[in-house]
């Protein structure tokens, strides 16, 4: 007779899914983006990403007094995402400070994973923008040097397509799609970002609603109100989609589970809100880009969205066939 039978409540079987597994999958999803940014910007990209990830993991491990610096993997994700929002030629200490800020101010002071209100990576970025803005959002950006790993990318510079009409017209949609243009590490290649997004959708880690609504809203607003400066209004809409951080934000930032709604309608409204605010800033604000601020604003509204979008339970409306 076996007398060490475990007694616990049903269900007695579970998926083998773990928080760590989810985080590892997000890292995998970022693989193509990482690859493209290294191809385009060489060792500087690799350096920035490595510093950001290491700093984030170290900060978290120290805070939690844990030896395993990878932990549940969420710090690595935060660090890498932060790096994605930085310019390729940024000074090495910028990602370090940003990551530590992201982990400590963005996450741990709230009580760690699951409890933070704002996307930690974006908190890190926001603090960097406010404190060392000139290092981040200068008018001049390095031109990518594809396949030159040791290239000194700051030698030739350009402006990002979002900086103004003239710059925009200098970049074709296909250039934007592939990513061969100036911009932050993780935002230049739409192709790589979409690939990662598809993987996350396939694995069930993100719901289509947030990126779908975000992207859809940006395109719609760009088409309706962006003017026809980029050939015609539809291509202007596409331009707004592909240039800047919309895809990175929509696929990897706004979908951060902890800081976005859990209800289906909440997700949809969240996505629309992100798109709306992004475009209001782009079209009518004084900054060329608004993704960070848009997502942070919607993060703040998340508890409210959840509260008012509790789904209708099964059988609430009597249906008689």
């Amino acid at each position: 007779m076996n007398d060490n039978l475990v007694i616990s409540s049903s269900p007695h079987i579970r998926t083998f899914q773990t928080v760590r597994g989810v985080m590892v999958d997000v890292l995998i999803a970022l693989g193509p983006v990482v690859a493209v940014s290294i191809l385009l910007f060489g060792y500087r990209a690799l350096l920035t990403m490595t510093v950001a990830m290491l700093a984030a993991m170290l900060a978290e491990a120290l805070w939690l007094h844990q030896w395993n610096i990878f932990g549940d993997g969420s710090a690595a994700v935060t660090g890498l995402l932060l790096a994605m929002t930085l310019p390729p030629d940024v000074a090495w200490w910028i990602p370090a400070i940003g990551s530590v800020t992201a982990i400590i101010i963005g996450k741990q002071v709230y009580g760690g994973i699951g409890n933070n209100i704002f996307n930690p990576a974006l908190v890190g970025r926001a603090v960097l923008v406010v404190s060392w803005g000139t290092h981040l959002v200068g008018p001049i950006w390095p031109v990518p040097k594809p396949f030159h790993f040791f290239a000194d990318i700051s030698a030739v510079t350009t402006a990002t397509p979002l900086a103004g009409e003239a710059e925009a017209l200098g970049t074709t949609l296909s250039q934007l799609f592939i990513g061969n243009t100036g911009g932050c590490l993780g935002e230049t290649s739409a192709m790589a970002l979409l690939l990662g997004g598809l993987w996350l959708l396939y694995k069930g880690h993100i719901d289509w609603r947030i990126p779908g609504a975000f992207i859809g809203t940006v395109w719609l607003m760009g088409t309706l109100f962006g003017g026809a400066f980029y050939n015609n209004s539809v291509t202007t809409g596409l331009f707004h989609l592909l240039a800047g951080g919309v895809l990175l934000g929509a696929i990897f930032m706004a979908t951060d589970m902890v800081t976005s709604p859990v209800t289906p309608w909440g997700k949809l409204i969240f996505g629309v809100g992100c798109g709306l605010i992004t475009m209001l800033i782009r079209l009518f604000g004084s900054y060329p880009e608004g993704v960070t601020f848009a997502i942070l604003t919607m993060n703040a509204l998340t508890p409210l969205l959840d509260k008012f979008t509790i789904p209708r339970k099964f059988g609430e409306v009597k249906q008689v066939a």
């Binding site: 007779m1 076996n2 060490n4 039978l5 475990v6 007694i7 616990s8 409540s9 049903s10 269900p11 007695h12 079987i13 579970r14 998926t15 899914q17 773990t18 928080v19 597994g21 989810v22 549940d72 760690g112 994973i113 699951g114 409890n115 069930g204 880690h205 719901d207 589970m257 902890v258 800081t259 976005s260 709604p261 859990v262 209800t263 289906p264 997700k267 959840d306 509790i310 789904p311 209708r312 339970k313 099964f314 059988g315 609430e316 409306v317 009597k318 249906q319 008689v320 066939a321």
Partner: protein, 439 residues
């Protein structure tokens, strides 16, 4: 034809291959049976026998005055050796009658078929079903005759037989449909007659194509009956899901299937009804799947009610040393047991031994708000919020979040990557909310 589906649900590993192809074998007559006086939802029975009495197989040994109740019968012939509390699959001790076998299996002479059941009145049939002690055999154990007595003014047009068997591992219903399909069909026809329902539907998950075929052939020339293949997805066999998928009707929150003109019964229940009218024999045996990685020789067994689980596990080669969990029922909704010293009852569809690997008691993490539980809940609840409310004792909030509607299917806890025992919290919340409503 595209199959209708319900929202949410999960796709666990089904593991039915362990027993799906094994024909039902009849377990040897037990030396001793322990028959709990309560094997159903409702009023417990009072014993009709005393210690020392001789009893015959099929003899009624427990009865209750209550309408929501079902009598119990001796499942072997022999002598009553004890009446008193005994381990029960529901976790507490329940008064039970212990019978030691005389090895004869001599049936009660009064038992005989209903004369020409096709011409019996609905009332006669219903009484026969009640007398036979038939309850929901899928595990819910709700007395069958009660479900077949709809209140005045509620017309029932459809009877559904639940052949989904969506719980992983279990194959008892599957084998029953393959090996005794006539009984399932006759049981269904009797129920339709009792209820005056014009339509009878047998819903079977599409991972059992052989059962769909066998039953389909059997009812070919019966226009009132049909087989509906169901998508294999847990909890397809949950009453509300099944009815929605088959009839497109949603059982209202807090309501019953008969509110939408439907009564549904489990496959085993239908077969028991057929037995009751064809032979007059009460419910004294059932098919049990004994399976799991911890069982050396898994099997589908026809066993007398009251047979001890320990006897069945021995029969199947014993529990392996690494068995860590013993479950009565399926892995999603069954109950973990501390011992094998407990009887098979009317609602015991399976005995499952899981080994260490599957059991893994891992500490839970904080909720990462991944919303998997929300997507998985077939009732459209937000399990993570209700669990949080329950954890903090905020039951008014739990009620507002519809905790009382939870069907305890286990999908939320199944998918949670943080391994939060969500279903357990749902039960806490639901019990508390219902208790408060009663005041």
């Amino acid at each position: 034809m595209a199959m209708a589906i319900f929202k949410g649900g999960v796709h666990p590993e089904y593991r039915k291959e362990l027993t799906a192809s094994l024909a039902i074998s009849v377990a040897p007559l037990p030396e001793k049976v322990v028959i709990p006086l309560q094997q159903h939802i409702g009023a417990p029975c009072e014993p009709l026998v005393e210690v020392g009495d001789a009893v015959k197989t099929g003899q009624k040994i427990g009865e209750s005055e209550g309408f929501v109740s079902a009598p119990v019968h001796a499942s072997i012939s022999g002598r009553v050796t004890a009446i008193g509390p005994y381990n029960h699959p529901l976790g507490r001790k329940v008064a039970a009658v212990t019978i030691e076998s005389d090895g004869q299996d001599e049936w009660d002479g009064q038992i005989g078929p209903l004369e020409n059941y096709v011409e019996c009145s609905p009332e006669e049939l219903r009484d026969a079903i009640r007398e036979a002690g038939i309850v929901g055999m899928g595990g819910a154990t709700f007395p069958a005759h009660v479900k077949m007595s709809p209140p005045e003014g509620k017309a029932i047009d459809t009877v559904i037989i639940n052949g989904a068997e969506c719980e992983p591992y279990l194959t008892a219903d599957h084998r029953l449909m393959l090996e005794e399909p006539e009984k399932v069909v006759i049981g269904l026809e009797v129920m339709m007659r009792v209820l005056g329902a014009g339509k009878g539907i047998i819903g079977i998950e599409d991972n059992k194509p052989d059962a769909i075929r066998v039953i389909g052939q059997l009812i070919e020339d019966k226009p009132a009956l049909s087989v509906v293949p169901l998508k294999t997805k847990y909890p397809q066999g949950a009453e509300k899901m099944l009815i929605q998928v088959i009839t497109k009707r949603q059982v209202p929150s807090g309501g019953l299937p008969l509110d939408v003109g439907v009564v549904n019964h489990n496959t085993g229940t239908a077969a028991a009804v057929a037995d009751a009218v064809l032979t007059g024999r009460p419910l004294i045996e059932r098919v049990v799947t004994v399976t799991g990685e911890g069982i050396r020789r898994p099997a589908n067994l026809k066993v007398r009610l009251g047979t001890l689980v320990s006897e069945l596990t021995e029969l199947c080669g014993g529990l392996s040393d690494d068995t860590r969990k013993l479950i009565v029922g399926g892995p999603m909704m069954g109950l973990a047991q501390p011992t094998t010293d407990l009887p098979v009852i009317k609602g015991t569809s399976g005995i499952l031994a899981l080994t260490g690997e599957e059991v893994e008691l891992i500490e839970s993490d904080t909720c990462i708000r991944c919303a998997r539980c929300v997507a998985a809940c077939p009732i459209n609840l937000v399990p993570t919020f209700i669990a949080q409310a329950a954890e903090h004792g905020r039951f008014a909030r739990a009620e507002k979040l519809h905790a009382a509607d939870c069907i305890e299917c286990g999908c939320c806890a199944y998918v949670c990557p943080a391994r939060i025992p969500l279903t357990q919290w749902m039960r806490v919340a639901k019990a508390e909310v219902l208790a408060r409503r009663k005041g």
